[in-house]
């Protein structure tokens, strides 16, 4: 942590630099911002080295919310305080939201057309497959322990099949999983 801070202190990015960097991440992230974010933060702008980025992502993944949004908040705050965090989030969301408004208006214009209805139904079925495929790939590569498979199955059953409200489900599952992870980590 200390080496990381001294390294970044010498080249603390300015607010405009943070703004343009995250504007670019937001603009280029068609079909997922993760890879683009890594490229710009590590390779293009040198804001973090690989280890620093992995560390940042590790924390982001342990927090609720989109990883890239959390990364924008944390990097912005680390370099330029609360104003920096706000700048990064605003820059990240500006272009995606503008294009979403354009897409939404297009949807409004065509959504009553029968062919558009069919296409949107097809898109909805495909989008579901996309999520399922991504989840399946991540599950197969995660190398989960047996307790972790049980937690994953319990979360899937509770929320996906039984359709329980998520808040009470998480209030049971998260503490259980934390306990299992703590015990599991101690054994290693």
């Amino acid at each position: 942590m200390t080496t990381l801070e001294t390294a970044t202190d010498t080249a603390r990015p300015t607010l405009p630099a943070l703004f343009t960097g995250f504007l670019k991440i937001g603009m280029m992230g068609f079909g997922g911002v993760g890879p683009v974010a890594r490229h710009i933060i590590v390779a293009e702008r040198n804001w973090l080295d690989d280890r620093g980025y992995a560390e940042l992502m590790g924390i982001c993944q342990a927090l609720p919310g989109a990883n890239t949004v959390n990364a924008a908040v944390m990097l912005g705050d680390r370099f330029r305080g609360a104003v920096g965090a706000l700048t990064c989030v605003f820059a990240l969301m500006a272009m995606p939201l503008l294009s979403l408004v354009a897409i939404a208006n297009l949807y409004d214009a065509v959504s009553n057309h029968p062919l558009a209805q069919v296409a949107l139904t097809g898109a909805a079925a495909s989008a579901a497959g996309l999520i399922l495929g991504t989840a399946a790939r991540l599950l197969s590569h995660a190398g989960l322990a047996r307790w972790a498979w049980i937690m994953a199955a319990a979360a899937f059953l509770a929320v996906g099949i039984l359709r329980l409200p998520m808040l009470p489900a998480l209030l049971v599952l998260v503490p259980l999983s934390l306990a299992a992870a703590t015990l599991g980590a101690r054994r290693i």
Binding site: M1, V118, A136, A152, A153, I161, S177, T182
Partner: protein
């Protein structure tokens, strides 16, 4: 009335924000439950279509909240839902960013991640099932979902590719009277 909608959007997405373990994809079942069942703001197929549109737009997947907010209350609704969905989790990230620099709770982060990854993945799978059922596209729809799933699982192409292929395939099957 208008005011009530914005307040409801803010509260609903604000609470869901803190449940988004591993990102917005995890909370699709809860967002669906709120929009369709609890608040009756749209039917399931509309939800599935808006979700698909959010998937095709560039940017972080928090935009599922944006497009639903837009559907419910136009551009102001979009802004309220987006802000509500991002604010609680961002404030938590800010607090952790400052706290962790002081305490360097590396160990805690590791255990938390270890605990949350399986839940996030189980929820993601649940999101896929909920979205597939909401799409209400019949047997052909399930076939398209399954095919897109296999392509996404097997190859690392840009997600827009299987999505475009699935959509074209569905339209083609519909035009010959199969869907």
């Amino acid at each position: 009335m208008e005011r009530g909608v914005f307040a409801q959007l803010f509260v609903t997405f604000g609470i869901i924000s803190l449940m988004a373990i591993g990102g917005a994809t995890a909370v699709v079942p809860e967002v669906h439950r709120q929009m369709v069942d609890v608040l009756s703001w749209m039917d399931a197929p509309t939800f599935a279509r808006l979700f698909a549109i959010a998937q095709t737009a560039p940017g972080p997947n928090v935009m599922i909240a944006s497009i639903l907010g837009w559907h419910v209350a136009g551009t102001p609704g979009l802004l309220v839902a987006t802000a509500a969905f991002m604010l609680p989790s961002s404030l938590l990230a800010l607090a952790c960013s400052r706290g962790l620099q002081r305490f360097s709770g590396n160990r805690m982060v590791q255990v938390t991640t270890l605990a949350l990854v399986p839940i996030a993945l189980g929820l993601m799978l649940a999101s896929g099932i909920v979205a597939a059922l909401a799409a209400d596209a019949g047997l052909v729809g399930f076939a398209i979902t399954a095919a897109t799933m296999v392509v996404t699982y097997r190859s690392k192409v840009n997600p827009l590719v299987p999505m475009a292929l699935g959509t074209v395939a569905y339209v083609a099957l519909w035009s010959v009277g199969l869907a």
